[in-house]
Every structure is written in C-alpha cells, then in structure tokens.
Assembly symmetry: C2
Homo-oligomer: 419 residues x 2
C-alpha cells in the first residue's frame, strides 16, 4: 500500500486523557481511535493487526476441532433467568435496552446461556458428543471504570470457545488440548516468553481454572511466578495449601504484575443443569453434558503486544501480526532514478504477495524514519542514492535495530523465509 493513500497519519500526541502506553502508542501510530472512555474503533492498520491475531487464533482452534458460529448480541431475559444471571445484583456489568414493545433485552457480556440453550436442539444422544464451538463476537460489559487502554473496554471482540463432553474424563482431554492450543497461540503471537499458565480460582465445579498471564507492569493482576517450572499462581489462590498442592515452593516464586490474555474454565454441569442439556448414554440413561469455556480477547492481545513489544520510539510488531511485512522507504528525490528503483521494488514485492507499505510521501527522511519506528513494521527497507551506487538496499530490523546492505535477491529470500 502507498502510505500517501493511507488516510491515517501519525501524531505527535495521543488524546489528552490517555494514560496507558498501549493506547498512547496505538493512537499516535494510527491503529485505534477512542470513541469514548472504554470504546475504541480500529483504524486500517489496527484492522490488519486484529485480523492477523484472529487468524492465528482461528487456525489453532480449528486444529482442535472447534466449529465456528456467531451468536447474537441481543439477549432475551428468559434465557438468562434460568441461571439467575439476568439480575443486575448478580451480574453487575450488563448493558440492557428495550424493544419498541418495552420488552427488556440485554447485550451479551458472555454467551454460555444462549449457547447451552441452543444446543438443546442438537444434543440428544451420546453420538452427538463431544464437540466444541467458538466465535469471534463483540461482548458488551458495563465497566464502572474503563482504564488500561484497549486492554479493558466496554465493548470488545472476544474469541469464546465452548466444549460439550459426555463426562469429566472426556472434558479433561479437551481441556488439555485447549490449553496446548492457547500456549501455541501466545507463542505464535510473540508473547510466549512472557506468558505463564497460571492457576486461578476454579469456581464451583473444579479446583482450579487456568489463566494465561503475560508479564507487564500494565497488567491489573498480581501473580506468583516459578520461572523455571514456567507456571504461576494468581494472587487470589496464593496460599500454603495451594502451593503444596501444586508442589511449588514460596522461595522459588516471584511476585509480578501481569495481564490475563486468556482463560480456560471447567464449567462442569452448571449450565447444562440449568437448561436441562442432557443426552442418552449407550445404556439409554439420561446424563448431563459436561461443559468448558475458553476465552481470548484479541484486542487485549493487541494491547498487550503494544505494551510488551515496544520501545521509546514506538511499536515493534512480531512478523505474525504486523500490519505489513516491509516498510519501504525511498530517500531519492521526486522523479529520480532512486525513486524509480523503489517503485520497481514495490511492484516486485506486491507480485510476490509480500505485504508492503511504501512511504511515497514527499516529506523529509527524518519524518519517514520516525513514523516507521512508531508504526513498527518488522523490516524497513531503504533505497537511497548511496545504496543505489552499491546496487543494494539497506534493511533494518525494527526488533533488534540490526542494519545491513543486501541485494534485492537476498531480500526476497529473507522475506520468503520469514513469511
């Protein structure tokens, strides 16, 4: 894409009331736009990153058999009364509204209820189980105070996966698969090193749930990390009994701030009981379906990447989710041979289906470099009169800052390898 055509521009300043690093950087670089406290729109660069994050998640969830669906945001009172979660005293972050005929409806903050209700139409026999279903759908949560930039908002897309199993054993098998899929996702997104599988409170139906916590000062959670064993314990269950249960020693644990980038829950039969979601087993006996739920917020991930992978100059996207693979910059004058060669390389990259942002703007070199650092595309390729004289291009890694001169053939090989 030609940078001159991109309608967003970088900014020196973020909105005045913005305090979190992720929102400041993402606003300044033109990835997001604050509509109101706790509600951010995605601009073209942000959409590209978001779509790539969602693609990685979808690939890993499809790989464990998840079937994609898309449930409505509008929710009927009757469905949520079955679990007693309609009441604002029980769930304090509902957004509710009304139909023309004054019927109250809610905006989904999660989707266990409607999905369990829906499955009653499709599950009746042991032959129908197990399976899992997921979606990318907006959740609305009426947070009292929205802070942390795009990491905690009133409206956000969530990948929520739900599993339906015949019994606890079958459920545990899927739960482990989901745990592995989540680990793969965070690794592919460049957060593997800093993300810990964390024991947290399990609720009624299981001792623990698992959170995936990424270490960052911007996080709202406190966890205790065993860096050797690569596991952690959330403060909420940090006590002697739990540590002994998990075989952890207090002396090996370090207190850290972290953000919850994913969580997985055993729901047991809590929802299937409320909705009478049952099946007939091989002996013809009626049994309750055992459920699990598994959430990841792609926007929170985007925010976490912005917090963790960035420096004073700007964002540093991992290749997997970068809006473009290459930031191509010409330092030649308008109409020069250098500009001509840059255009030529731009065309070649496009033909090779390499995603490239070509800074064709008529601005000074310093501004191009500063914008490039702020936007954070992994590889910068510069063509100048100097590189032309050597028949090469200058490549610079946004990550480690490493610069070198290579010829175009080498560039193509490098890009193919890091695709």
């Amino acid at each position: 894409m030609l940078q001159s055509k991109l309608f967003t521009k970088t900014k020196k300043e973020a909105p005045k009331d913005e305090v979190s690093k992720n929102a400041i950087l993402l606003s300044r670089a033109g990835f997001i736009h604050k509509e109101m406290s706790g509600a951010y729109s995605l601009l073209p660069l942000g959409v590209k990153v978001m779509q790539k994050i969602m693609k990685v998640i979808a690939e890993e969830i499809n790989a464990i058999g998840g079937q994609e669906l898309f449930l409505t945001s509008l929710q009927e009172k009757e469905v949520w009364e079955k679990t007693n979660r309609w009441d604002d005293k029980v769930v304090d972050n509902w957004f509710k509204t009304k139909l023309k005929n004054d019927t109250e409806v809610g905006l989904a903050f999660t989707h266990e209820e409607p999905l369990t209700n829906l499955m009653k139409e499709y599950v009746s026999s042991y032959r129908d189980l197990p399976f899992s279903a997921y979606q990318f759908q907006t959740k609305f949560r009426n947070e009292t105070r929205a802070k942390s930039g795009i990491m905690r908002t009133r409206e956000f897309i969530m990948k929520d996966l739900y599993s339906f199993s015949k019994d606890e054993k079958e459920h545990q098998d899927f739960y482990e698969k989901a745990k592995e899929a989540y680990t793969k996702i965070f690794t592919r997104l460049g957060l593997g090193d800093k993300t810990y599988t964390t024991f947290a409170s399990g609720g009624t139906f299981s001792k623990y749930s698992h959170e995936f916590q990424t270490l960052t000062d911007a996080g709202e959670d406190v966890i205790y990390v065993d860096k050797d064993k690569k596991i952690a314990v959330n403060k909420e269950v940090y006590n002697d009994e739990v540590l002994s249960d998990l075989g952890l020693n207090k002396s090996d644990l370090v207190e850290e701030k972290a953000v919850e980038v994913g969580n997985i829950f055993s729901l047991g039969t809590r929802f299937s009981e409320s909705f009478d979601l049952t099946y007939l087993d091989e002996k013809g006996e009626k049994k309750l379906v055992v459920m699990g739920s598994y959430g990841i917020g792609p926007a929170r991930l985007m925010g976490t990447i912005a917090e963790v992978l960035s420096d004073e100059k700007g964002l540093i996207w991992p290749t997997t989710v970068a809006p473009f693979a290459v930031h191509l910059i010409s330092l030649g004058a308008k109409g020069s041979k250098t500009e001509e060669e840059t255009k030529n390389l731009y065309r070649q990259l496009q033909e090779r289906k390499i995603e490239v942002l070509y800074d064709d703007r008529d601005v000074r070199a310093g501004e191009k470099f500063a914008d490039s650092d702020l936007i954070g595309i992994p590889l910068r390729v510069v063509i100048s009169d100097k590189t032309m004289a050597e028949g090469k291009v200058e490549v610079k890694s946004r990550g480690d800052g490493g610069e070198r001169m290579i010829d175009e053939a080498e560039l193509f090989v490098h890009l193919e390898k890091h695709r």
Copy 2:
C-alpha cells in the same frame, strides 16, 4: 469436514412462528438459529456462507481502494446531536442504554456521524483527499416489527463504505466506481440476473440514490423494471417527471416485488457541514468535504440467495458462497471397499484444498440425499457399489439436477475449473 462431527442436524420442521422461506430453509438446514424475533445466530454452515459473502464484498471494495476499519457500536450522544439524529422523534429505531454513571449511550444503527467526526483528525488538506473507508460491523435497529426472516432484523452485520471527496465531480467518479463494484458483487453472488440498479429518492443532496433490488416475492419493495435496459425505478419516485427524466416509457415497465440488497447515496456536504469536516484547497481556501455512503447487508444477501436460489427440496448455493464445494456420499456398508474408496477420495479432495462435506453417518441413503438437497452444496458426489464396479463416481449438480458418471481425475479437473 465429516458430517458426523458437524454439531448441527437438519430438521423436518422450522420454528413454529417462522413464516418466511429464507428463515424456514436456513433453520431446517442448520445455517441459522432464531434467538428472538428479529435476531438470528449463525451456525457453522451459516458462518461459512457469511464469510464467503463478506470475502467477495471485501475483494471488490478493496479493488476500488476502500480501507477497512471497525467502528464501535457504543455511541456518544454528543456526536449524534450535531446532526440532530440522537432524538428518538427524528430516528425512531435507536437502541439506547446507559453507562454506570447514568450517561445515555446509543447502539449504532449506522456510522456516518462517528466516522465524519473521526475524519476531522485526519483530513485537513486537498492532499488528504479523496479516499474511502469501509467496515463489516453490526448495526442495531429497533424495528417495530421484525419479519422477512434474516432479511430484516434488529441486529445484523452491514458492510458500510463511506467516501470522502474534494468536490462533486470527484465524488461522482467514485460513486460510479462503487456502482460498478456493487454490480460485480451481485453477479459473483449468483444474483446478477435478478438484480436491478434502481433509481430511488436521493434526499437533500442529489436527485436520485441508487438501490440494488433483487426480484423476489419475499421483497418488501415495489419497483418498476425495464428488463431490456436493465434498470428499474422504485415506487417512491415512480412518476411521469422521473420517467421522462430517465428516458423510460411506462409501457416498457413491469411492476415487481423486490428486496433491496444494496444502496448507494450521495450525501453531499450534509455531514461534513454538521461536523465542519473541511480541507484547504490548492489556493488555500477552506472547502467542505463531499461524502457518499454505500451499504450492503451480507445477511440480507444470504437470505435473498435462500429465497431466490432454492426449490421445494431446499437451498441451492452458488459455488462462490456455498459452505462446501462438494457433498461426498458413500452408499457402501460400514467397512466395505466402497466406504474405503470414499474415505480415500475424501482425503484426496482435502489434499487438493477442495472444501468437502463427507456424509459418513450411518443412516439410510434416502436421508443422506434429502439432507444433501436441503443443505444445497453445488456438487454431490456419490460412491456406491455400482459406481465402484465401473471405476467411477456419480456426480449430480444441485442446480440443474444433471447427473453423470465420471472418473476421479475428471472430477478434480471439474472442481479446479469451478473453484
């Protein structure tokens, strides 16, 4: 995909209160699920169709330079007061809700206001124009009466594109491009023959707007069609003056019922005036930006396809949007050579990245065929003891019902050609 793993099953009956053909067929075949009047969830088969419809739309909108973004659903009162569209007396289909601090917020029924407001940050010079931006985002509309199945709902994804131009001429150039893109979209979706570019009321800033109307008795609109000239006039502007203006003769026009599958509007400076969205031209003079808006509802399109491309047995998806390219059916007994060969073909199709639904269920042939007709995958491939004896497979087109015996090599060639 293995049909035995698909959690949805076909149904003999649709929900009792369902009257529209699209909702009845799509419910029975397992594409959608009614959550409440005017709100439908998409099930896995429905998600697949929806994603393909959205992909076709995105490709054509990208081809004319549209930049994708994603605006919030939650909307601030102040923004909409600028155009006087916050008032429920002016816009009667708002869904409104409240933040914890009692601030009233709305759920977007369209996005002209927030987008014009946002663009103030990015447009200041003639160099910033023209450009266009679009999104796929849920619209909430508090319809008094939701009917017509998924063709008119209270919550639906819309592709909305907005253009920003320096002057009327530049706007008209883009408007024509958008019109052509829309025509391409409906043609690719199999609705080309039945879809008419239709003159409709233009509002304050232009004489006409253009609707894309697909002929169907399920439509809520009445249009007058000149089938030779391939254009139509909406009843709302059907009068002698307009006909003479458009060079149409009453005697050539046929009255038809139709559904509006897309519309394009010249907005003039209505929104840029309200938000003071201006730029400095080459002479340094301040000018108002000229805008256009262009909408398509992918779910309404899915509903329209279900209405128009279906028969008494079920759905008939065009290849471009079918949930799978091939419905593979084995009539061999469990463990037979015939079943073995079907599995083998299933693997080969998957290796070739052909999307295939393999009916591996242990049910009688009649049920498999009935389900296959209902689901409406374009090509059915049957392997039976009889086809095995000839070393061939039986292929049947869901569209024209044409059956023939071909060998597997021929099948692959056919599928490559119709990819």
